[in-house]
Symmetry: none
Subunit: 205 residues, 4 copies
DNA sequence: TATGAATGAGATTTCATTCAT
DNA sequence: CATGAATGAAATCTCATTCAT
């Protein structure tokens, strides 16, 4: 049962590309390096990807595809919104700050101007979907009378913003000496903050 | 009163550099373009800046210097922490999403791997200082009995995260068709969220 | 009765090669294209032809071989030279400007410097033979007292030159908008010119 | 009185380009070689010519421009057409087969498919103009009752064809061993042929 | 100080050719 | 025989940087 070699080869390349692009960005990563890291010749690279841009986009797309399917939640039923939101924040945070994924926002943000297609894709398929899920959760909470919120859209952005910062922190600032983040604790604290706020409950009681 | 030509020249260059780097990132911006945009020869550029990297760093530094002095608040006295925090979030958000500054986080995030010095500098002087101020405000609120918060550090990150997302949204996603953000409203909503949380007050009353 | 696959294959390749080389010249035609046009793999090409050059030469040779046998006339007997020459010019012109052959001079002229062997071959076997035939016809006319000619060699070149121009015109200039040539009429007029000249007969009478 | 260096530099390059392209054709001539031959760096080449194609076209254009001005004859007055035509054939032949110019037709013919613009230009400005002049001469001869000619256009092509063959002969076949042409004698013989034809004058007398 | 001109050192991309299967 | 896959060796073109004037 011989495994087809192409997929393997292709994923070797994408892996090497991910390593390169994530470490040095688009421009500073040479096709030569990627080829060497993938264990093939530069020309073999071009057999599978028509250009450096195409390789870059393929790599990002593959990463996103890898992440998306598991991000779509089912119907919420009668579960309490608080629990759902806590779980989603924990899940999203874990996923977005994982070693393989954390650099994606950085790359999208960094190269977005030169790759509008990619930025659009990421906006539509990742950010948009993430926000959509959060929004559904918040609406669920409002319907159940659990949550109170004047501006849903903005609140959702606050939620996503905290998670995104974690990814950026890990990839941009930790390598230059920032205090490492405990992502689990951070996700929990972030959930606490957006759920309970900073103002003391007793104040309004 | 002889016109000081050098400073003017210098700021012309920095302005041109900012325009270029903010539009196309570090690698895709050519020294030629910057020189032309600044109205001088490429060689004249090198009389003022030793290298492309030096110019890039100078531009970022200048921007940060421009922004920092006004960002440091004095002692809080006996003011309510809620008001201070609202004001600071509004201020920080306005500043960080302003036309001249919004691209800075994007550039820092995008080129951070290739410019560790810059990332460190930005972390120490901007993010760090911003977080420090927020933390002081939160502590002030805790001392006054206004706030309740289990994990101060993380809560502060949640606060900054929301603001940062606005800047990224504006520079990365709005150009590719994302719904534009009303930064003032967003800042206010963000302040609401982190202050009050999503859970209904009456629930705990 | 097993189908002879190799000859068919070979001529498929030569046909594809002819199409490619005639349309784009030697350098701009890729082995890949030829293989695809011939319906085989690139590697299969190399089973039949050792190199691109070899394929090119084989293609030209085949074309020439196809044309030459019919170009060699027998003894002229007692036929009038004028008729023979008219017929030969018509024949040569028709052949050399035919769709399949017209590009050959162009390619030979264009790539002659890089393929001296080919240029030599074409000179010896095609131009040389053509000139030889013309010369024999002219000598025949002189012997019969039909023709008067001071410099036979040069006259023959004048004859061939007109025919060659037609082929070049068709392949080089017609594709870019030149007025199309009616080769039959042109051959006839060319024969008229070289036979009668431009000066009025009555003048010398 | 310092002479501007650019024109000199530019013509150095064009000279080197002419040498390269004429010897090896477009594809086989490397920019590196041209640069070295011109005594400058490859990058300096690109300072003056945006691409290899642009350089190629500039070189051909310059050559053509060099040749054109002197090719335009004045009014013919009352001179005998025969003398004018003889002189023009001699002139055109000498010019077209001169060491600097002879390769031009070869290059145009060889690369015409890949440079349609150039082929068109050459057709319009060189071939067209040459044919135009010949046609004017022939018409002049017809008006004066000197010439008899059924098909002027075709006759003119016969005239030009003989001259063109000389250039092709020199550049394509002489390098591979063809008998060298004495262009002066050839031009004269060609003029004899097209003027007098091959048929004996006395025959019709 | 200012600049037009020049360049060294790559970067991406191409393609004829080979080889294991 | 046939081929998919691979590659070595360029070729074009770019750009940060320098230097003579």
């Amino acid at each position: 049962m011989p495994r087809p070699t192409v997929p393997t080869r292709r994923s070797d390349i994408l892996l090497a590309a991910r390593a390169g692009f994530s470490a040095r960005g688009f421009a500073a990563t040479r096709m030569d390096d990627i080829a060497r890291a993938a264990g093939i010749s530069k020309a073999a690279l071009y057999l599978q990807f028509a250009s450096k841009e195409a390789l870059f986009e393929a790599m990002v797309n593959e990463l996103i595809e890898t992440m998306l399917p598991q991000a779509a939640p089912a119907d919420f039923g009668d579960l309490p919104a608080e629990a759902i939101l806590r779980r989603f924040i924990a899940f999203l945070s874990a996923r977005i700050t994982s070693a393989e994924m954390a650099f994606v926002p950085r790359v999208i943000i960094g190269e977005g101007a030169n790759f509008p297609e990619l930025a659009r894709f990421y906006h539509d398929k990742v950010i948009g979907r993430g926000l959509g899920i959060v929004e559904r959760i918040v609406r669920h909470g409002l319907e159940r009378g659990e949550f109170a919120c004047a501006d849903i859209t903005q609140a959702c952005r606050s939620i996503i913003g905290g998670v995104l910062l974690a990814a950026i922190w890990k990839t941009t600032f930790e390598p230059v000496g920032a205090k490492p983040i405990d992502t689990t604790a951070m996700a929990q604290a972030h959930a606490d903050t957006v759920l309970n706020g900073l103002l003391r409950r007793t104040e309004t009681a």
